[in-house]
Assembly symmetry: C2
Homo-oligomer: 224 residues x 2
DNA sequence: TTTTTTATGATAGTATTACTATTATTTTGA
DNA sequence: TCAAAATAATAGTAATACTATCATAAAAAA
């Protein structure tokens, strides 16, 4: 028995809510597996259709194109991390402790607590690390931002910035620090794996713990 | 009269050195203009050929594909920033002052000092901001890294990490901080322009100065 | 249950992209 | 001035990113 969380995502991202049908959920599930496997550039709806024994045309009824699907996945991730943080900080008052939990959620995201049976949060995290920024680094950002496609990211950052300000009310860069912690977490994990000379994090079992420690150290220096 | 710097880039990136011929230099020049204009996804060799009154086939003699061309541009940028830092810190001994110059070079990169007549460093910087990470966020990273395609980035970061260690020999994260300063500079400028709720930097004339100030503040807190 | 609606599948087709190949022409430079 | 190299012109192919149409199956409404 799994906890069923219905993640709330901006309706404009999809043509038809994939959470509402078996085919839709299959699209999400296997798009994560396939993007992880072949990378976003080589990923396409034809290959995805083959994986799930469906057709290109059927997938196009859910998403306008693979870019929209990526925004969907990334938004799911942002929403999922927000959710994780919310439940894990629910009974916590100390904002310093809260920020530690936030950092832990940025770095580990999924290690535990799979929310449902069609989204593998672990794999989704690794897509986030390699492909995440491609969701908003496009010519269409401004238009898509206008339609609210990145709302989940902004909400997450706003929440984190709030905690930062609770710790240090006069700190001048709460939003910058919040987005930097998120981006750093992904960047440094990516570098550890692929471009190790750009980071001090070593590609080992405990690299997540190392990144966590590093981010905690940095925030402590900046805020305490 | 312009200073002619021959930027040294890994030979594997191109099939034929574009710096050595008028067509090659034209390819570089107009690829920068065109990518800035239409974005990397919509950019292709056919459009580029039209811009320079040449042909697709001719461009393919210089670069295997548009991805290789992006790596070339990004490597140019990394090499250019390294060069800028080198000449601007040449007579400086104080590593703190050096790091300030490094940060200034990360943020402004080009504002002054155009090195030659076919690379517009200003536009190249803005490509770096929007498209830069796409050069190494691909399925081929490991293979390309093996061929030394990202050497210029690593050299830049190694140099900066060295300065960081000169300031604070016991600091545990010199490489992480170096790459973070570089990435933050680009990310925060991008956010200021397109996703302002993710940053404290305001999209104004002096946003570069703001980012510079912010990065100096952060490094000071972490290292001094 | 029957009918109607909706979702999906099967198939086909188009425009664009990302190349490769071939031959002609121009440029360079020995 | 002749040979070699670089570029242009042209054509062609396989894959991609869709769109359209119609058949069928499943779900919902009557």
């Amino acid at each position: 028995m799994s906890i069923e969380i219905k993640i709330s995502l901006n309706e404009g991202i999809y043509l038809k809510d994939p959470q509402d049908s078996p085919l839709g959920r299959n699209i999400i599930k296997h798009s994560i597996l396939l993007i992880e496997d072949v990378g976003f550039e080589a990923f396409n709806f034809k290959k995805l259709a083959q994986e799930i024994n469906s057709t290109e045309a059927s997938i196009y009824r859910y998403f306008e194109n693979k870019h929209a699907l990526l925004i969907y996945l990334v938004s799911w991730y942002w929403a999922w991390v927000s959710y994780l943080i919310k439940i894990n900080t629910m009974n916590i008052d100390d904002p310093k402790k809260k920020l530690e939990i936030i950092i832990n959620s940025f770095v580990l995201a999924s290690m535990d607590n799979p929310s449902n049976d069609y989204v593998d949060e672990n794999k989704l995290h690794s897509i986030m690390i390699s492909e995440g920024t491609k969701a908003y680094r496009t010519k269409g950002v401004d238009e898509e931002n206008g339609k609210g496609f990145f709302k989940n990211y902004k909400e997450l950052i706003t929440m984190v910035a709030g905690v930062i300000l609770d710790i240090a009310p006069t700190f001048e860069y709460p939003y910058t620090l919040a987005s930097t912690l998120f981006e750093m977490s992904n960047d440094q994990l990516y570098f550890a794996k692929h471009l190790p000379r750009l980071t001090d994090i070593k590609e080992k079992e405990n690299k997540y713990a190392e990144v966590e420690k590093m981010l905690n150290y940095i925030t402590a220096k900046l805020l305490y």
